[in-house]
Amino acid sequence: MEISSLEESRREAIFQARVDAEEKIEPKDWMPEAYRKNLIRQISQHGHSEVVGQLPEGNWITRAPTLRRKAVLLAKVQDEAGHGLYLYSATETLGIAREELMEQLLTGKAKYASIFNYPTLSWADVGAIGWLVDGAAIVNQISLCRTSYGPYARAMVRICKEESFHMRQGYEIMTVLARGSQEQKAMAQDALNRWWWPTLMMFGPHDADSAHSGSSMKWKIKRQSNDELRQKFVDQSVAQAQHLNLKIPDEKLKWNDERGHYDFGEIDWDEFTAVLGGAGPCNHERLEARRIAHEQGDWVRDAMFAHAEKQRQRDVRKTA
């Protein structure tokens, strides 16, 4: 064995021992290249989801039914922008520039959660997103608070603190609609019908079919498997739907005494693959909106540079 590869396996052993001991890995630590790559992919994908995730709800800010709802929705969407920033910052500690991350999103090289490629057709969708989509995100993110990479774990802790408001405001919207007129109740049920399955898809493929699961678990990037987290979400959602007197659109949903969990039907994986691959109802619209926002922000960034430069020269003149 060459000295360099001996050294490499020594470092890898130290790294794995640290992970096994539940110590965090920090940016300047040595880490396997595959760990770094895996993290860049996962954290940036997570960040892109926060950023693109602003769009479906942003669609309703101008049409929120009351001033209170409007203020709440604005605050929620602003939080999501913040979440995007926390996650981009965490990704950048791994040695990739923000501009490159943006580029990967806008060229379609990087993915984001497929859920945000579905349209928000009615006000009830804003309720369903807060309740279900943020609810599912919380299940995932609570688990990720224990991820092995320090900056990612810290971002998750910060995000989790802000998320429960997102879920509650959504559930509150659903509660009002579900107790309202016939039409309002129908609106709430329709939103649940359309968002339920895409939400279950958020947890990703079955463990057996998940490409990155093995190493992610060994390196403790992920702490619980896709199927475990999905089950947790289903279990908690049943009582919440019952309280609303709404029906989860799954004939196979049934309590299983032996397992101590709810059984539920199979996800339409063809739909999942199609939407992830770009064929969802809003894929094109979402990326186009991001692209336009980025382009239209160009002059702002230019102006910021120009202003900073002018300020710097003024300071130089003053001290001269």
């Binding site: 040595w30 910052s89 810290r154 971002a155 960034r301 900073a308």
Partner: protein
């Protein structure tokens, strides 16, 4: 234009009497803008009453690789800790 906005590290004092603590980072062109962004991103829920923003490039960090050699000298000086000394239990020393 394809210049990169510099990176700033953000420190917050959560309440009077406490020290500033690192909370995250952001990109901004100048200190004023960094300060505004820090307020918008890191203090939306009254998390702080004072903000420091520092250019990340101006921070000098100890090197992780030299960590052991750098911090080792403190390890064998247990006599720097109060627990090193045997004193009678009942004297409240």
């Amino acid at each position: 234009m394809n210049k990169h906005l510099p990176l700033w590290e953000v420190f917050l004092r959560s309440r009077r009497g406490l020290e500033h603590k690192h909370v995250g980072s952001l990109h901004a062109a100048d200190p004023e803008q960094a300060m505004q962004y820090a307020r918008d991103v890191y203090t939306r829920r009254m998390e702080g009453c004072s903000i420091w923003v520092v250019l990340a490039n101006d921070i000098h960090a100890s090197q992780e690789a030299e960590g052991e050699a750098f911090f080792d000298p403190a390890e064998d000086k247990v006599y720097r800790h109060a627990s090193f000394y045997d004193v009678p239990d009942d004297l409240k020393l």
